[in-house]
Amino acid sequence: MIRGWLSEVDLGARIGIVVLVLFAVLTLVGPALSPYGETQVIGGAWDAPSAANWLGTDRIGRDMATRILFGARMTAMLALAAALGAFLIGCTLGIAAAVAGGWIDLVATRIVDAVMAFPSLILALIVLSVLGTSIPVLVAVMAVLASTVVFRLARAVAADINAMEYVEIARLRGEGMGWFLFREILPNAAPTLIAEFGLRFVNAAIFISSLSFLGLGIQPPFADLGGMVRDNAMAITFGRIAPLLPAIALAILAIAVNLVVDAVLKRNANLDLR
């Protein structure tokens, strides 16, 4: 059955799914398989790749491949947490606003507009300058900032579907709010929401890596992809590609998710709900 489904999606999405599965397996199992520890020093600074260190070593002689596995896991988990948080906040408020309407809708929309008038990286920098950069703060800031986009989408989708005939029929049948949310609106909004979840996840992964790269995200000794780029940035002037490796790992993750998202959106557009 999975095979039949896979043959229906386009090549890009198939590549994306395979890469994502590989990424998940590697980051979940990989660190356990690696002969080295996350912070174990095993060689000189920026040793070239060898049989023992497939991707060479980092600034203070830790195994690069091992660090990337740990770092990718850290980045992906934080991004996942942020995306889940954003969806929890955004979907709940967005769908509630669309179904409730009236002044609740108006107030919620205005607040979201105000936050969205602000470039999110700048807002995050301002908040982090006071709250400091602990992991819960980082995840919370990212979740709240990303929830604005999710709110708008969830509200628009819910309002769209809310105006459709089958929903009107349910309303005439006298169904309650819970029925609307879970039986009428959510199933029909699912493809759009899944695609959006992918986008929020990628954005959060790049966002947190950018903050770490700026020195304002995850703090050492923990490895995360952005922090590793910052840590090894000097190597590039010596002609070593050490800082490129964690950045490439991040890009591979992002490209894979974007490929799948594109396919979901395209498929959904072809269905044409209207």
Partner: protein
């Protein structure tokens, strides 16, 4: 509603947004849980140090009064003093702002024609090899963090080929040519990252118009695809494209933060990041306000241009 009235209304709401944004910048640093002074100094702060910071930031007065002082100060060009080195924030920002605008402006000159052109070409040859090639490249670029694009370019053009300098330090005695050489890598990085977004949006905007009935009509009467896109579709997507262009500029303004860090370019982005690391609240506030104001101004301009370019937008829905 007459056109001027609509534009005026949008301007007013833009001003209101600016006011809200300034309040958010202030509230972001002042009204967060806990005491700013203690947050700045950390847990081990001595009471004397906390008291000194409280006095410096005037924390004993009500927040609303301090907000008013701060805002009127900003409007008259007095942004306060840096906590880290006691210098006037205005002096710290003065040189940096121009450099960031120079960087973003040059990047825009490359990015906008490139992105809109590629977007049109991709739409023109939809689903053909050209489109697939362009779309795949931009998808990859959109997925790449700015620092990856930056370091890749730096590795190839500065380290391996040695054509361009790796560090983009500008000095006053530099010739125009040297300045351009120093700016080349950060500019191209910014332009690539941003034009990927813009190109995808342009392509989507053109293709969404292509599903309209009047396009089908043009097809049925036998117009070529080129003619349909340039004569029938383009005038109708013009306002959307203008919007996309200005949103791109807004994105550029924020994009400078990471790119400046990659190339060690001393602009506003680097100033703000350093200020955040040092928890220099007045400097962070000033930088945040400037970034946000430019961003809001560009967004409002995008809306006004869209109203001017598209008669249908003039009628309220």
């Amino acid at each position: 509603m007459p056109l001027t009235g609509l534009v005026f209304k949008r301007l007013l709401s833009g001003l209101a947004t600016l006011l809200i944004v300034s309040a958010m910048v202030f509230a972001g640093t002042e009204l967060l849980p806990g005491d700013v002074a203690e947050a700045i100094l950390g847990q081990q702060a001595t009471p004397q140090a906390v008291a000194a910071i409280r006095a410096e930031l005037d924390l004993d007065r009500p927040a609303l009064a301090r907000y008013w002082d701060w805002l009127s100060g900003c409007l008259t060009g007095d942004l306060g003093r840096s906590l880290a080195n006691g210098r006037e924030v205005t002096d710290l920002i003065a040189g940096r702002l121009g450099r960031s605008f120079l960087l973003a402006g040059l990047a825009a000159l490359i990015a906008i024609p490139l992105a809109v052109g590629l977007g049109l070409i991709a739409a023109l040859y939809e689903d053909r090899l050209t489109d697939k090639g362009i779309s795949a490249t931009t998808l990859a670029l959109v997925s790449m963090p700015e620092f990856l694009v930056g370091y890749l370019l730096l590795y190839v053009f500065a380290v391996k080929l040695g054509w361009l300098p790796a560090l983009s330090r500008l000095t006053d005695t530099m010739s125009v040519l040297d300045t351009l050489r120093a700016l080349a890598l950060p500019c191209i990085t910014l332009a690539l990252v941003v034009s990927a977004h813009t190109m995808r949006l342009t392509r989507a905007a053109v293709l969404s118009v292509m599903t309209q009935p009047y396009i089908e009509m043009a097809e049925l009467k036998g117009a070529t695809r080129r003619r349909i896109i340039f004569r029938h579709a383009l005038p109708n997507v013009l306002s959307t494209v203008l919007n996309i262009v200005l949103l791109t500029l807004a994105y550029l303004v924020v994009g400078v933060v990471v790119v400046e860090a990659v190339f060690n370019y001393s602009g506003m982005g680097k100033l703000m990041v350093d200020a955040v690391a040092k928890r220099d609240v007045p400097l962070v506030q000033a930088c945040g306000l400037i970034f946000a104001s430019v961003y809001v101004t560009l967004n409002v301009s995008a809306d006004i241009l869209a109203i001017l370019a598209n008669p249908r937008r003039r009628r309220p829905k």
